[in-house]
Symmetry: C2
Subunit: 79 residues, 2 copies
């Protein structure tokens, strides 16, 4: 799998630059947490930069991926 | 388009619950900013909950969308 396992045993997708995407459970609801980690005492801990989005919000991002891609592409052309 | 226009004229994807996904320019590099907004004086302003991800990180999320979906689905089955 492309997923890695964190010190806490949870699977995450490594986004690079100490950023991870992983499922998190908050009060019985699952969220996709996209977050930057920081190193302390040789351990990586979740930092403040990040957001936990609902599955519905994740689906909205997925469903509009081509729109988001074209925003990136338009911005690149303006250079 | 599915995109809306914010008070600042920038286009955003409404994720619901005052959350938006939109492109942001930081020092000449474009990021996808996924962020929660809050209302103040009748205006919506960007809050602390959020993260700006690079296009590369966005592509990683897209490329691994089915893996993320299956994590959500597995978690749902455990109920």
């Amino acid at each position: 799998s492309v997923l890695q396992k964190g010190a806490d045993g949870r699977k995450f997708l490594d986004l690079g630059k100490k950023r991870r995407a992983q499922l998190s459970d908050f009060k019985g609801t699952m969220y996709l947490d996209i977050r930057e980690y920081y190193e302390t005492n040789g351990e990586l801990r979740p930092g403040k930069k990040g957001i936990s989005i609902t599955q519905e919000q994740w689906n909205l991002l997925k469903d509009n991926a081509s729109t988001i891609d074209s925003l990136f592409n338009k911005a690149a052309k303006k250079r």
